[in-house]
């Protein structure tokens, strides 16, 4: 039995987990559900000894593994203790074959070589490994060529190989699955659930973290609901004998009950007043029209979307992660290959690249602030004016020589100072380096940079990701303000449905890259959770 006693974890001053008590029994599938940021991943990280936990100050509380206190400083220790983990982002080595990956660090070696040179210098027996991989894949009922390179597999197949690697381990006592079906289609997800049940039947305790409530109900013996880092309730569940595609009424009721406890009561803070919302004027011509628009963003594809975006509105896009919510903006900006047709202001767009889009007054705020949004080693002034200087020749001194034009530091500084006041950026001075700021303030700098180009259409990806609660509110307020004062059109993608509901005029819900529904913001959270699981409001009882 794996027991968690009073586990708490604090990230950067904010509690991610508070006093978690859990018992995971061998032979049971224990489902853990919760909305984004409820602490599911943190819990798994603690259990599997990921470095990020010890690097951020460790955790409080006790882990008890089979009546022995346990603490894992790195994943190797957790593995040695019999805790395996299947990662959301695949930990497969692309250049090794499927069988090598499955047997990794547990290779069969020729006994003579082990006797002479010891275990680490034992000569690997490839045919025995291959045979073992074939056997494991066979037991799992997965049809895969063991000699194919892992890098050449599709995402679904990768998930199975990853599972096979853990399945193959002797001495495995507990298996942690982090959203194992997030990348799988319907059939594959069912298959995976069958395998998970097989694993549990071997006496292994499985921790199954998922957003997909219907799956959790299908396979878990016990379900724990997390909200804001606390256990809300823990309930017994009787998984149906075989996973079903059809949703019985009982199941649907259960899903509704679950989604209600996941969401809990919400306190609305930044809320757009109804009068602020854009008038629903059907005669208005759309600013952006998409027709079977697809984006091939690795791990987050968008599949044939038909959508009109009207000037002056705030459009929300939401889905579970990996279902395509973050790919529309980058796709239109030309960061990923796209298909389909796009009209901007009634003119068709043929080629997609960032500088052209900026010229057309389309902007984007990326979710990867530190990686793509900011020049971390440069000052705030430079960060706020860089794109405008480069792409729009704003804040540039007049010069007779077109190739020799210098930035106008005075103008830059004036703009930066005004932004600092306007956006209320908490910094020592505008000459401070961007990496020194907190996430929220960095986001504000990104917003200042985007506003400097005066876009008419702005894509915003996960604006509040990794930002503390207070800053979240001010960011949201800023977005509303930008829309109001500049008459900007905003397309905001986020997994935080609650936030989208507060600022958006309508919200597009995606499932597996396809549009399920366009919902008004006054729908309940449970409706949204259903839509995120692919159940359309308009057509209940069927999957999108």
């Amino acid at each position: 039995m794996l027991e968690l006693k009073n586990i708490s974890k604090i990230y950067g001053g904010y509690p991610a987990l508070t006093a978690i008590d859990l018992k995971i029994y061998p032979g049971q599938v224990h489902g853990i559900v919760g909305v984004n940021g409820s602490g599911k991943s943190t819990l798994l990280n603690i259990l599997s000894g990921q470095r990020i936990i010890s690097d951020t100050g460790g955790y409080r509380g006790d882990l008890v593994l089979e009546n022995e206190p346990a603490a894992f400083a790195d994943p190797g220790q957790a593995m040695a203790a019999g805790i395996g983990m299947v990662h959301q982002e695949f930990a497969l080595i692309a250049g090794l074959s499927v069988s090598e990956n499955i047997c990794l660090s547990r290779e069969n070696i020729y006994p003579w070589s082990e006797r002479i040179f010891g275990r680490d210098l034992g000569c690997i027996n490839p045919s025995a490994n291959r045979a073992r991989a074939v056997k494991v894949l066979g037991e799992m009922g997965v049809d895969l060529d063991p000699d194919i390179l892992a890098g050449e597999l599709g995402v679904g197949a990768k998930q199975f190989v990853e599972l096979a690697r853990e399945f193959n381990r002797e001495g495995l006592k507990f298996l942690l699955l982090d959203e194992p079906t997030a990348v799988l289609g319907g059939q594959d997800a069912l298959k995976l659930i069958t395998i998970v049940k097989k694993i549990a039947a071997r006496g292994i305790g499985v921790v199954y973290v998922s957003h997909r409530l219907e799956e959790v109900l299908d396979c878990c013996d016990r379900i724990t609901i997390l909200r804001n880092g606390r256990v809300v309730t823990s309930l017994e569940n009787n998984p149906s004998g075989s996973p079903k595609t059809e949703h019985s009424q009982i199941n649907k009721d259960k899903i509704c009950a679950l989604s209600h406890s996941m969401v809990g009561r919400t306190v609305n803070k930044t809320q757009r007043v109804e009068t602020q919302r854009a008038p629903k004027d059907s005669a208005k011509r759309p600013i952006l029209t998409l027709s079977s628009f697809s984006v091939e963003k690795p791990g987050d594809c968008l599949d044939s979307l038909d959508l009109d975006v009207f000037p002056g509105e705030i459009l929300g896009i939401t889905s579970l992660s990996g279902h395509g919510r973050s790919s529309m903006g980058p796709g239109i900006m030309g960061l990923y290959p796209v298909g389909g047709k796009v009209w901007f202001n009634q003119t068709p767009v043929f080629s997609f690249n960032p500088s052209q889009m900026i010229q057309k007054k389309i902007g984007m705020l990326t979710e990867d602030r530190r990686g793509q949004g900011l020049l971390l080693d440069h000052s705030l002034v430079e960060n706020m004016t860089f794109s405008a200087i480069q792409a729009k020749a704003k804040f540039v001194k007049k010069s007779r020589l077109p190739f020799l034009r210098f930035p106008d530091t005075k103008q830059c500084l004036a703009y930066a100072n005004s932004c600092q006041k306007l956006l209320n950026i908490d910094c020592r001075s505008v000459f401070q380096k961007a990496f020194e700021l907190s996430g929220g303030n960095q986001q504000k700098v990104c917003i200042a940079n985007a506003l400097s180009m005066a876009p008419t259409l702005l894509f915003v990806n996960d604006p509040t990701r990794g930002i503390d609660v207070e800053a979240k509110e001010s960011i949201l307020a800023l977005l509303i303000q930008a829309q109001k004062t500049h008459g900007m059109t905003l397309v905001v993608s986020s997994g935080e449905i609650d936030e989208l509901k507060r600022i958006c005029d309508r919200i597009v819900v995606l499932y597996q890259g396809r549009m399920v529904d366009v919902l008004p913001p006054d729908m309940t959270d449970a409706d949204y959770l259903l839509a995120c699981s692919g159940i359309s409001k308009a057509d209940p009882g069927s999957f999108a």
Binding site: Q50, R51, D74, P75, G76, Q77, A78, M79, A80, H87, A91, L92, I93, A94, G95, L96, E100, L104, S105, E107, I109, S113, F117, R119, D120, L121, G122, C123, I124, S294, E296, P298, Y336, P337, V338, G339, G340
Partner: protein, 357 residues
Amino acid sequence: MAVFKRVPLIFVILCCVAFYYADMSFPFVLNQVITRFIRDGVMVLALIIPIRAGMGVNFSIVVGALCAQVGLILALDLGLGSISGLVFMAFTGVTLSVIVGVIIGLCLNRVKNREMITTIIIGFLATSIYQLVFMVGYGTVISPSNPEIMLSRGIGIRNMVDLELFRNLLDTLWLLQVGKIEIPVFMILLVAAFAVGVHYITMTRLGKQFTVVGQDHEKAMTLGINVGRVRIKAIVISTLIACMGHLFYILNIGMLNVYTAQMNTDIFSCAALFAGGATLVNARVGHAFLGILLFHSLFILSPQAGQNVFGNPALGEYFRSFVAYGTIGLALILNAKHRDLGHPNFSVSNQVIKNKG
């Protein structure tokens, strides 16, 4: 991968052309190649494991070479000769190289993804420390027991030290004469033994760990592999092999050029490995052997060919350097290009645009 097979092909063609113009007898060339093979063979093998562990070319094999030289000079200083001296210098060299190997490994763990430039600089640094010790330290701080190896002023080791005591100790062992071709069977077997050793390591669990770390050290870490340790092991093995390789090299030459013998060992070994078709991410024993054969054939032939065609032997000398650095440069650039092409976004984008655009 097809791109890389071009490099050995270019070398084959160049060798044929050079052989045609050099007008040398085949047995002579072959003898020379065999000599070079036993001189440089082990050194090239030293590069294989760090490449497999994703650390790029370990230019700090120079440090391993210096360890060998230190062992050798100490043996001479103590007046040890013959087999006992050989054992002493091998032991000293290996001990030293393991120690510096660990230190280099620790350094490289701090500069992930910038290993190659770091190893180059470490090589320079070690060389200057070595020179400082033997040029200034000997005779001042360290008192020599063998005055013959000292400069006449009493401070510093001579530039050139004769290895009378060790001459022809290994080279002539089991010497086989086939027509005009001399085959030093023992030395060839020795190099082969090192090759088998390196190849064996690649087939072990440790070798698999090298591969995994080389492919993706973040994933390796989540899989519970101690990445830092594995990388240190790779560098230690490499430095150790380099030390032994340099020992064979000096013994084969029969003279120790105290301050310059280690020069260019890294560059030439690296060029030879690349000439055999190795890349920055993949190197095998086969690459090393093919590379030594091709690279050194060209090395032997090109000065003479230069003399015959242009009447200027210096041209051949320049050509040597050109070939060495050119090979490395070419391999590095081709490798970078290959990585770009291998990037998932890149390959996807081309397909999709073709299909849908």
